[in-house]
């Protein structure tokens, strides 16, 4: 296990091949997504698949992070109950709020006790993807000692605002700045939103430079091919 800082690679939790290949690209962290990438009818099977992957595959060189479903979706609690017992490095919390974090904390504490894991060994990574979360980002990131960093999901935020998302990203300058200031103040990892055109390496490079120069510690990836560029720029 290492401390993710420069890169996290998102992998759909319902894709066995991607789960298997996730650690080979050299990212600091891999995020097994049970939320956005998984359709409602596949939530159960994806959860089980991720659990089996954590049991049988070798992720020793990478931080495994699980993006659970939000608690109010009706799936989040089951995600925690099943996955936390495999002791992932961290749980990523969508639509983060201090209230949700408190609830998740207490569930994790119970599981850690039952499983004999050290207290607070499972970390938290809130996702900033709503206007509410952006407004209260400092409060959110200081709401638990388990929090090691923040993931900024620009797609979620711009959808929440009803804004058009662009490659240049002028629409998210304020959000990026606000998140970075909060994270830097608390010495936490700040992971920037992924660049979604995985065939546009030049665009990725520019986006990485923008994020790095604003103070992000790293960037999320949605394709293994993006990792090298991210590492080169955030090094």
């Amino acid at each position: 296990m290492k401390q993710y800082r420069k890169s996290i690679l998102f992998v759909s939790g319902n894709n066995p091949k991607m789960l298997q290949d996730a650690p080979i690209f050299g990212s600091d962290g891999v995020v097994f997504d049970l939320e956005q990438a998984v359709a409602v009818e596949e939530k159960d099977s994806a959860r089980l698949l991720v659990k089996e992957a954590l049991r049988f595959l070798d992720y020793s060189g990478v931080d495994v992070i699980i993006r659970i479903n939000a608690l109010d979706s009706g799936y989040g609690e089951q995600d925690i109950e099943l996955i936390a017992r495999e002791r992932p490095f961290a749980v990523m919390i969508p639509k983060a709020s201090p209230e949700q974090i408190t609830k998740i904390e207490s569930k994790l504490a119970k599981i850690e006790l039952e499983e004999g894991f050290p207290a607070e060994s499972i970390k938290l990574i809130p996702v900033i993807e709503t206007a509410y979360a952006l407004q209260y980002v400092h409060k959110i990131i200081t709401s638990s000692p388990r929090i090691t960093g923040v993931f900024f999901n620009a797609e979620g935020l711009t959808a929440d605002f009803g804004m058009q998302r662009t490659k240049k990203g002028e629409e998210i300058i304020y959000a990026r700045s606000r998140i970075v200031v909060a994270c830097r103040a608390e010495k936490l990892n700040a992971i920037d939103t992924p660049f979604l055109d995985s065939n546009d390496y030049e665009g990725l490079e520019k986006d990485c430079y923008r994020a790095r120069n604003m103070g992000f510690t790293g960037k999320a990836a949605i394709d293994g091919r993006q990792i090298k560029i991210i590492h080169d720029i955030f090094d």
Binding site: Q20, D21, I24, F25, F56, L57, D58, N199, D223, G224, R225, K228
Partner: protein, 513 residues
């Protein structure tokens, strides 16, 4: 008996004959003799142009038990094999041995001829997964198929091991006196390299063309002194089928990861330098290796001596970028390669014999620095299988695999560690195509294994941060992901004999249960 790799093979195989067991990749060199050629000389004024394939069959005296040969430069667009075999079948002729350099799904009519006893033998150096491969696997062919390499086939022809009665040459362009080229006509396919030995050594040679050019059909690939007859047909093939299935760099992140690692290995072991000679296949991952090597060559300002093999537009781009001085081309995989062969004198054809024949006076493979290879399976001794799939079905033949592995200074297998949820690294491969003594490095997405015979490479790679592991470790990693598959069960029936490039038997394929 057991051959040098410990493979259990009979001393005699019905329908094949006495078995010469594989003795080692470099055990069979020395003085050789070429077969003599019987030909009918042509008097001035004689005509070679015939109206139909039927007429050609009359002229060559086709009869039961003959060996007829074809080339596969038109690949899955080839019509000539089917046209000729249909005409032979119509005559009620039986017991034909089809010596084709390659067989593709388009050649499905062969299956019916096999069932009817019209075709009782097949020799081939490349076969695509498809109906004919399945028919062979099922044991429908009377005699075992003989799987050769691209260099092994011309060796067999030149030595007399494989005697061709009639060679039917799909000719993109020909003149009425038998000069043939591969760059003119509607179905231009580039070089005609694999059929060169047939044109020299077959008793009769028939050019089958759909584009009759005024005399002489320059630039000539096969000259008139080797050709008995010329037949004009409506179409020799579909140009759309000529383009090999995968001729683009993969976009698969895992394939790219493997390719990057492979290029780093080539660089770290000191091969990326001026005069580099390099060959890779047309698969997406292989081309990705070429793409990574290209980047390093450019960065270092390296100019290679030649790129070789089946040639794609990608290798042509490297030639045009000045990264190689020359190309040696045994088959064009796409139309860009065809055009380059036609227009650029630095893009040279090489015959199959010049490419990989172990018993000539030095094949091009002997001058290769780096060869990138694929594998269906590889075992702990680095033996490679490219003939049979995970269920024992025939899905390929050596092609140039064992030729280039033997010749290249760095023979590198690049593959995913698991394929179709099955491990690629096995205790023993199902069928050996290429002996482990000629394979130097295995590169996968989860690590690199160096053949212990190559301590020099191992030492160099240890100085890097590349993930070097033992092949046993890679096997363990893959089996941890996939489990250990149940062994395939086979009957005793031998459906194919796998010849090493020197004509010895490296393995046999038995019919799966």
């Amino acid at each position: 008996m057991k051959n040098a790799l410990g493979r259990e093979i009979p001393e005699y195989i019905e329908g094949y004959g006495v078995v010469r067991p594989f003795m080692g990749a470099f055990a069979n060199y020395g003085m050789r003799e070429r077969a003599s050629v019987r030909l009918r000389s042509v008097k001035p004024g004689e005509q070679k142009l015939l109206a139909t394939i039927d007429e050609a069959l009359d002229k060559v005296g086709i009869k039961d038990g003959m060996t007829v040969s074809f080339h596969h430069h038109l690949r899955n667009g080839d019509y000539v094999l089917n046209l000729v075999m249909a005409a032979i079948a119509k005559r009620g002729i039986k017991d034909i041995h089809v010596a084709a350099t390659g067989i593709f799904p388009i050649h499905e009519p062969l299956v019916e001829y096999i069932k009817q006893g019209i075709v009782t033998g097949i020799s081939v150096n490349y076969i695509s997964p498809g109906p004919v491969a399945k028919a062979i696997t099922k044991g429908l062919l009377k005699n075992p198929a003989v799987m050769m390499s691209h260099g092994g086939r011309p060796r067999a022809i030149e030595s007399g091991d494989l005697h061709i009665d009639v060679a039917f040459i799909a000719s993109p362009e020909a003149d009425a006196y038998g000069n043939i080229n591969g760059v003119g006509g509607k179905a231009a396919c580039g070089t005609l390299s694999y059929i060169i030995a047939d044109s020299i050594y077959a008793d009769k040679v028939v050019a089958v063309t759909d584009s009759l050019a005024p005399y002489p059909a320059c630039p000539i690939d096969i000259t008139q002194d080797f050709v008995d007859y010329v037949v004009v047909v409506d179409s020799i093939g579909d140009p759309g089928g000529i383009v090999s299935g995968t001729t683009k760099v993969t976009s698969d992140p895992v394939g790219l990861r493997i390719a990057k690692t492979a290029a780093q290995v080539i660089d770290a072991t000191g091969y990326i330098k001026n005069e580099l000679s390099f060959q890779t296949g047309a698969g997406g991952t292989s081309l990705a290796v070429a793409a990574e090597v290209r980047k390093i060559m450019k960065a270092k300002g390296v100019v290679g001596s030649f790129g070789a093999g089946g040639v794609t537009g990608y290798i042509v781009d490297m030639l045009n970028d000045g990264l190689f001085r020359n190309i040696f081309d045994v088959q064009c995989f796409d139309l860009k390669a065809v055009a380059s062969y036609r227009d650029n004198p630095r893009h040279q054809a090489m015959s199959g014999s010049l490419y990989g024949n172990p018993h000539d006076k030095g094949a091009i493979v002997n001058n290769l620095d780096v060869m990138i290879l694929g594998a269906t399976e590889i075992d702990l001794d680095f033996n490679v299988n490219v003939v049979t799939g995970s269920d024992g079905t025939i899905m390929g033949a050596s092609g140039g695999h064992n030729d280039t592995a033997a010749g290249a200074k760095l023979a590198m297998v690049v593959t995913n560690l698991t394929k179709g949820r099955l491990p690629v690294v096995k205790d023993k491969v199902t069928t050996v195509t290429t002996p482990g003594e000629t394979i130097d490095v295995l590169v996968t997405e989860r690590g690199i294994a160096v053949n212990p015979r190559r301590q020099d490479l191992l030492e160099k790679l240890k100085e890097t941060d590349l993930p070097v592991k033992s092949i046993e470790e890679l096997k363990e990693i893959s089996e941890k992901m996939t489990g250990k598959p149940e062994p395939i069960e086979f009957t005793e029936k031998i459906v194919a004999v796998v010849e090493y490039r020197d004509g010895t038997v490296i393995d046999v394929v038995r019919q799966p249960k």
